[in-house]
Point group: C2
Chain length 191, copies 2
DNA sequence: TGTCGATGTCAACGAGCGTTGGCCTACAGT
DNA sequence: ACTGTAGGCCAACGCTCGTTGACATCGACA
């Protein structure tokens, strides 16, 4: 349980730092984002960042707390799961730059990669756990993640022109069947 | 045309630098890899790297020249394209660390992202250009890239356990139908 | 053999970074 | 009104990095 959230006089500053941190980390990734740039954007001194978050790593950890806000998949129309999930991820991605910060950083920073694995396991895989064969659920969740993260990578990070230019609805129409099959399709035969 | 490749006495050194560079860039990404570490691994002085490649950026550009070695897609059995492509990418990825270097770097480095876009356009999209409706081909190529790169990201970079643990054959069996549909499936209806 | 460019080593510069400690200021509790 | 403490700024340290230039050495060619 979090301790009593006694209002501190510095709460506004702390929030400004966090907001600036998310913005810089999302735009530049962990290494290229600097405490100095974050402080400048929050219009405070770099030393305040240290005082409130201890270190750059501490700030990053605080800045990338993230909730996918996945709905309970078992309560949705089973045949629409793919489309709903893809749409939800697109919305979530465009409404919160935290995910960009995480992916940009996770490719080179072991801690951020671990955070992504945790989010995956505790949120996506957990949300899917009641869907089918429990021994197969993690693999299916992994496949869903591969398509969803690949979509995010090509659309928002690397920015492949055709993927950037596609309408969200068109994207959903193309990708939803893939996710749907990973979620509820039959296990393919393999040697 | 490349100029006459007159043998230089330093060719072995240059090759050693390039090999070390690929290894460090692949493991750490552009920012975290240091000229000093690359030089140490190549057992030469950091200043030699500068002499032969001009700058860290120049070294990176030389180190990530990359050929996907895609076969001519129009000459393959059309109904096996998906499986063959997925298998080819997995092999290519595991046999050459250059791709890891590129993806690790492209998330934070605009130049590397541009290089990825070029590889995509000149190699993947180009290889697919004879496959179907030319106005639709780039979009289909983008979708293929999203699934393939997502697979690479989750398996080799972020290392989501279920995706890491899956057998290559199992992975191909799951993902091939996705790629196959992106390549040759009907255009989905969308509002 | 003598010469000159290519090859390689060494030490250092200058910049940017995370981080620290000292100091001033302003507000809350008495 | 007094005082302690939290909030805030400034200057600097120590480190690592890319990069540079001076100097030593080797090897091909005349």
């Amino acid at each position: 349980m979090t301790a009593a959230p006694r209002a501190r006089r510095s709460d506004a500053t702390r929030a400004a730092i966090l907001r600036a941190a998310r913005e810089r980390f999302a735009a530049d990734g962990y290494d290229r984002a600097t405490i100095r740039a974050i402080a400048a954007e929050a219009r405070i001194d770099p030393s305040m960042v240290m005082r409130y978050y201890g270190s750059k790593e501490g700030l990053f950890a605080a800045a990338v707390e993230f909730d996918l806000r996945l709905p309970a998949l078992t309560e949705l129309p089973p045949e629409q799961l793919g489309g709903l999930l893809v749409r939800h991820f697109l919305d979530r991605w465009e409404g919160d730059e935290t995910l960009a910060a995480l992916v940009r950083t996770a490719t080179t920073n072991p801690g951020a990669a671990e955070r992504m694995r945790t989010i995956f396991a505790e949120q996506l895989a957990a949300a899917m756990s009641g869907l089918g064969d429990p021994t197969e659920a993690p693999r299916r969740a992994g496949l869903v993640a591969s398509q969803i993260l690949g979509l995010a990578l090509t659309r928002y990070i690397i920015r492949l022109p055709p993927v950037v230019d596609m309408d969200p609805a068109e994207l959903v129409a193309w990708v939803a069947p893939t996710v749907q099959r990973y979620l509820t399709g039959p296990t393919p035969a393999w040697a």
